[in-house]
Symmetry: C2
């Protein structure tokens, strides 16, 4: 992508209406634009990052048998009345459509998927089933000051699983946990994310959150360094020891909840009368699990973790482009060399090429650091047909030939 | 995909709450599920079709320099007041969030993209720019009885272009027209879709719609057989001749509007004060175009056009899978052969494999016709290690070896 064509503008100063580091940097670097508190547009650079995060999640969901669907944003009121959450969930955006029909914007989709599963699951032969969706969801938050960490409008992956019995649910629950660990490793968040015990609600002893350690996080977790697991704030009030080793020396840390896994068991299948005919001919309730992971929140988390005073430092797996090619020369011959390098390299790799004539070399270098692609390639009057190669997270530069890049 | 695992259920009877052929067939065949009038869930089969349609559109938008973005669903009221459409557009879903802040759910995104462009476009050097989004949009329709042809919640591609002057806009407008023709050809709708002249509003003489001829369509168009173009219902009241050849023997046809292209010119840039500094130093208004194409409506259109009394007949480019492999035998040895064919074929091709033991051969054949994949492959007690090959849109069957398929 030639930067002269890219729909973006970087800012030299932090935007005045943002408090969170992730929002300041993503707005400054031209990845997102604020429309209202907790509501953002994703510009082309931001959209590329978001899709890469989504695709990592998608691949790992497919690998554990998940089938992708698309569920509606508009949920009729009666679906939420049936489960008792129309009045009990404070974050619902409610609205009226034609004929005064009432809706909420979906913050989560148990109310839609469970009645749908009733049309599909009748017999033990129809179980298990695993379905997921990656789509925009909504929470009418009272406050939203953390950029992409707490959106009123955000992108969410939710996987729902349906099982004959609790053993089937338990087994799949751990498969999802393994998939989440793979996702976090691919996002470069594996080493700083911990499985965190949370309350399981009225039916299960525990649920689990995936919490990424980060001072900017809104959550407090209590870390057991022996087991490398944690306990969340709600659960610590009930039990102030590690649920695995009973260690009571837990360390308080700030963290961002990037995912959660929850055994719904029969909570929603009872509310919606989702039953199946077992091998013995009797009707039994379906056991359900739900498993959330937030791509847009992850995007904010990555920026909170991977940045320096100059800008963002994207992990290669989610960077909008791998290489940032800069032409720092005004010389026509050097420009031709840079153009040629761009043409050749972009046949094989994702390259952003700063070909703009209207900004100075210094501005180009500063902008490259701000945007934060993994590899910077500079062509200038001093490189003599070669490239100056630099990793975003290192200081040393090297002269290289194009063919050495492959 | 093994059908024993697929999240779907086919219906032998038409659903009672649908009038439109597309909705009846898509619900019966397990592609979509109705949540409320004009609001559907896309099951895994439906999601695959939708994504394939989106990807065809995406490729052609990228080919004309379009950059993909993601814009919000929640639009603050003040953005729509600025352009005067808060009160003038009757189909807005309006709602209030925290602190009584008012929003509409985006039915289109001029109100968001124009103020955003103001932060990006300052000089003639920043022009032209082309950006698009493929995302869920909303219209609070009074009636919604045409299945996917008129959703209250639907998937829409909107491309927006920004130009220095009218000539630039005119030229790009025709590039988009060519891209739309390519999209329609790839969707197998090229031969039955016509560029249709429509009113250009207060600034342009004409805009254009892409109308697919179909008796189930909600639109009436007036076709000039000499030019193979048409005039829409609104415009025919002003001029009852072909705008190209002045022929007044226009033929009335029913059609579905799958896309439209519109020269906004300076309508929205004036409302939002989107100007740029020209080469001569003067501020000038940016010229804009907008270009819509509806993936979910196209999905409904394809079913209206490509079906018979047995079910859907998907064009290969958007079929959820290319091959439908059916095992009609109860014999264990034949099942092993079918399993092996599935394993081999699915390494190279998209295959749906009806491995279910709980339904009869007759039901499997009927279901294959209903689901409508391009190629049916039957393994039975009579095929002796070979496959019975049949195209969905032909009656003849042939015995083939697996290797002949490639």
């Amino acid at each position: 992508m030639k930067q002269s064509r890219l729909f973006y503008k970087t800012l030299k100063q932090d935007p005045k209406d943002e408090e969170a580091v992730n929002a300041k940097l993503l707005v400054r670097a031209g990845f997102i634009d604020k429309v209202a508190a907790g509501i953002y547009s994703y510009l082309p650079l931001g959209q590329r990052v978001l899709v890469k995060i989504e695709n990592i999640i998608r691949e790992e969901m497919d690998a554990i048998g998940g089938q992708e669907m698309l569920l509606p944003v508009l949920h009729p009121k009666e679906f939420w009345v049936q489960t008792g959450r129309w009045d009990s969930m404070p974050v619902l955006f409610k609205l009226k459509g034609a004929n005064n029909k009432e809706f909420t914007l979906g913050p989560t989709h148990e109310e839609i998927i469970t009645p749908l599963a009733k049309k599909i699951i009748f017999s033990y032969k129809d179980l298990p089933k695993y379905v997921y969706q990656i789509q925009t969801k909504f929470r009418n938050e009272a406050r939203s000051k953390s950029g992409l960490l707490r959106g009123r409008e955000f992108v969410m992956k939710d996987l729902y699983s349906f099982h004959k019995d609790e053993q089937g649910l338990d087994k799949y629950y751990e498969r999802v946990a393994r998939a989440y660990e793979k996702i976090l490793a691919r996002l470069s968040l594996g080493d700083i994310s911990v499985r965190t015990f949370a309350s399981g609600g009225s039916f299960s002893q525990y649920s689990h959150e995936y919490q990424t350690l980060c001072d900017a996080g809104e959550d407090e977790i209590y870390l057991c360094k022996q087991c490398n697991i944690a306990v969340n704030q709600e659960l610590i009030k009930e039990q102030n020891v590690c649920p695995q080793c009973n260690n009571n020396q837990l360390e308080k840390k700030r963290a961002i909840e990037v995912g959660n896994i929850f055994k719904l068991k029969t909570k929603f299948s009872n509310a919606c009368q989702l039953t199946y005919k077992a091998g013995d001919g009797h009707g039994k309730p379906v056991f359900m699990g739900c498993y959330g992971f937030g791509p847009s929140r992850v995007m904010g988390t990555l920026v909170e973790i991977f940045h320096d005073e100059k800008g963002i430092i994207w992990p290669a797996a989610v960077a909008p482009y791998k290489y940032h090619l800069l032409n720092l020369s005004k010389n026509d011959k050097v420009k031709l060399t840079a153009d040629e390098i761009y043409r050749e390299l972009s046949k094989k790799e994702e390259v952003l090429y700063n070909d703009r004539q209207d900004i100075s070399p210094g501005e180009k270098l500063a902008e490259a650091d701000l945007i934060g692609l993994p590899y910077r390639l500079v062509v200038s009057d001093k490189t003599h047909g070669q490239l100056e190669f630099k990793k975003r997270n290192e200081n040393k530069t090297q002269l290289r030939n194009l063919k050495e890049l492959f």
